[in-house]
Amino acid sequence: MIEVRELTKSYGPTVAVNRVSFDAHAGEVLGFLGPNGAGKTTTMRILTCYLAADAGSATVAGYDVFEESIEVRKRIGYLPESAPLYTDMGVLEYLNFMTQVRQLPKSDRKERIRSVIDTCGLADVIQKDIGELSKGYRQRLGLAQSLIHDPPILILDEPTSGLDPSQIIEIRNLIRDIGQEKLVLFSTHILSEVSATCSRVLIINNGKIVANGTPEELTSQAKGEEIVHIAIRGPQEAVEAQLNELDFVSQWTHVETTDGIAGYQINATQESNAAEALFHVVVQNGWSLTELRQESADLEDVFLNLTDKEQTQLQNQQSAEQADDTNDNDA
C-alpha cells in the first residue's frame, strides 16, 4: 500500500530524510522508532502530501504523493504531532466540518460521526468546545478526525505523547484493533510502545533507516552474549578460581564485595544456560547464592546499539574531517 523509494528531504544544509526506502501493507502496524529529530515527522509529512521530497519517490495505494496528491490524501487519515485542533470550535461542529471537507455523502455523515465518537470514546465531551478538552480527549478527537472517512491508511505522529498511562494503553489497543484490517503507520520515541503494538518496526536515525523487521527479529539479532549478574557468599579466591575454570564463561568481572558477598558480572556464551549452570556450581561447592539475575537483550539494546553506532561513526567521520582540515592548514 505504501512504497517508498530513496526518499530524500533536506532543510537547508540539514538532511532530514536520507534515501529512505520501505514498503508497508494492509493489516500491518508499522512503528517508526527513532530519537527526536531523526526524520520521522518529515517522512510522515511527505507521505501525507504536506511537504514534497527533494528526491526519490513515494506511492500510496498506487498513487504518487506528488503527482496525484488529492487521490493520496483521500486514502490517508493523518494525526499530526500533538493533535492540532481548532480550539474555538465545538467537538461535534469540528467532526461535522471534517465530514464536509472529506466529502462524505450527506446520508453517511451522521453515521460516521457516531461511529468515530464510539471508537474513540468521545461520548462524554461532544457538547464541549475543543478549547475545554484535556490533552487526552484532544488526542482522541484528533484520532477521530483521522478515522472519519474510514481510510485504508492511517498515519499517526506520536499518538501517545503527553497522555497518562491508562490513556496510553487505550490508544495502543485502539491502534492494534484498527491495524487488523488497515495499514497503521505511527511514530514514537518510546521503545515499549513498539513492542506492545507493532507488527513491524522501522528504526530511523539521522534520517536513515537503520533497522527493519518484527520486534522479535530485531531483539534476537541483538542477542550475542548472555550477561549474568551473580552474588556469592564464599571464599573469594576459590570462587574466582572456579569461574576461570568454567568453559562457558568467556569473561567475568568482579563488581563489588559487601559483607563478604562478592558480586560478579559474567559474560557467557550464547545458549549455554549459564544461570542454571552457575547455580549448580555454587551449590556443589557449598557456597550460598544471594543474587542471580540474567540480563536479556531487548529492543532497547537494539535501539541504543544502532543509534550509538551511527553516532560514533558520525563522530569519527567528523573528527577525521577535522584532522584533514588541520593537516591542510599545516600544509
Partner: protein, 238 residues
C-alpha cells in the same frame, strides 16, 4: 465548490465563535459613525461624502485585523497540517477563507446602512451616489482583504501579519494620492495613478460605476489571492 463552501462556513462561524466579529462590528460602526456625524451637522448638507472619504483610512486598520489570523493562526497552532492534507486544493482553501472574511465585511457594511438612513431623515441625499459609494466600499474592502490574507500566509505571527497587511495597503493607497503623484517622476505618474487603491475609489464615489475601476479592483483581488495560493503552495516547492 462544496469544498470552498465548507471552508467558508467554518471560517465564517469561527469569526462569530470568537469575539473578533462582535468587536470588529461594534468598533467599526462606532468609530465610523462618530467620525462622520461629528462633522456632519457643521456641513449642514445631507450627503455622505464625508463618510466614504473616511473609509480608506478606517479600513486600513480594521481589515488587516480581520484577515491576520486566517493563515497565521493555522500555522501557529499547527492545524494547517491537517487542513493541507485534506483532499482539497490549496486555492479552494484560499478562496473559502477570502469569502468568509468578505462575508463579515458585507455584514458590517449592511449594518452601517443605519447611517444613510439617518442622513435621509435629516435631508434628501442623492441615492445614486450613496449606492455607488457602497459598491466602491465593498470593492475596496475586498481588495484590502485579499492583501491582508496574503500577508497572513507569510508568517505564523498574527501581529506581523497585521502590520504587514497595513503597510502593504498603506503603500498601495498613498501612491495614488495627489501628494505622492506630484512628487513622483513623470514616467511613474501613470503607473502610480493607475495602481493607487484610492484613486479608483474616489472616481466611483463621484457616482460613476466605470467598468475600468471595477476591473482594477477585481484584478487586485485576483492578484493577491493568487499570491496567497503561491505562498501556501511554497511549502511543497522543490
Amino acid at each position: 465548490m462544496t469544498n470552498i463552501a465548507a471552508i467558508f462556513k467554518k471560517e465564517f462561524r469561527s469569526y462569530f465563535n470568537s469575539p473578533i466579529a462582535y468587536i470588529f462590528i461594534t468598533f467599526f460602526l462606532g468609530l465610523s459613525s462618530w467620525l462622520f456625524f461629528r462633522g456632519f451637522f457643521f456641513g449642514n448638507q445631507a450627503e455622505m461624502r464625508g463618510f466614504f472619504g473616511l473609509m480608506p483610512w478606517i479600513f486600513l486598520f480594521f481589515i488587516p485585523a480581520v484577515t491576520m489570523k486566517l493563515w497565521a493562526e493555522e500555522k501557529k497552532i499547527g492545524t494547517i497540517e491537517i487542513l493541507m492534507t485534506l483532499p482539497i486544493r490549496d486555492y479552494e482553501v484560499v478562496l473559502g477563507k477570502f469569502f468568509a472574511s468578505f462575508a463579515l465585511l458585507i455584514a458590517t457594511v449592511l449594518l452601517s446602512l443605519v447611517i444613510p438612513f439617518s442622513v435621509m431623515y435629516f435631508g434628501d441625499p442623492d441615492g445614486g451616489t450613496i449606492f455607488a459609494g457602497y459598491i466602491g466600499l465593498l470593492l475596496m474592502g475586498a481588495a484590502y482583504l485579499a492583501i491582508g490574507l496574503f500577508a497572513s500566509t507569510l508568517t505564523e505571527n498574527q501581529i506581523v501579519a497585521f502590520i504587514f497587511g497595513i503597510s502593504t495597503c498603506f503603500v498601495l493607497l498613498i501612491i495614488g494620492e495627489d501628494f505622492v503623484l506630484f512628487n513622483a517622476p513623470n514616467w511613474l505618474y501613470p503607473i502610480f495613478s493607475y495602481l493607487g487603491l484610492g484613486a479608483h475609489y474616489s472616481s466611483i464615489l463621484r457616482g460613476v460605476l466605470d467598468s475600468r475601476d471595477i476591473i482594477y479592483y477585481l484584478s487586485v483581488i485576483g492578484f493577491f489571492l493568487y499570491l496567497s495560493t503561491l505562498a501556501v503552495e511554497s511549502r511543497k516547492w522543490r
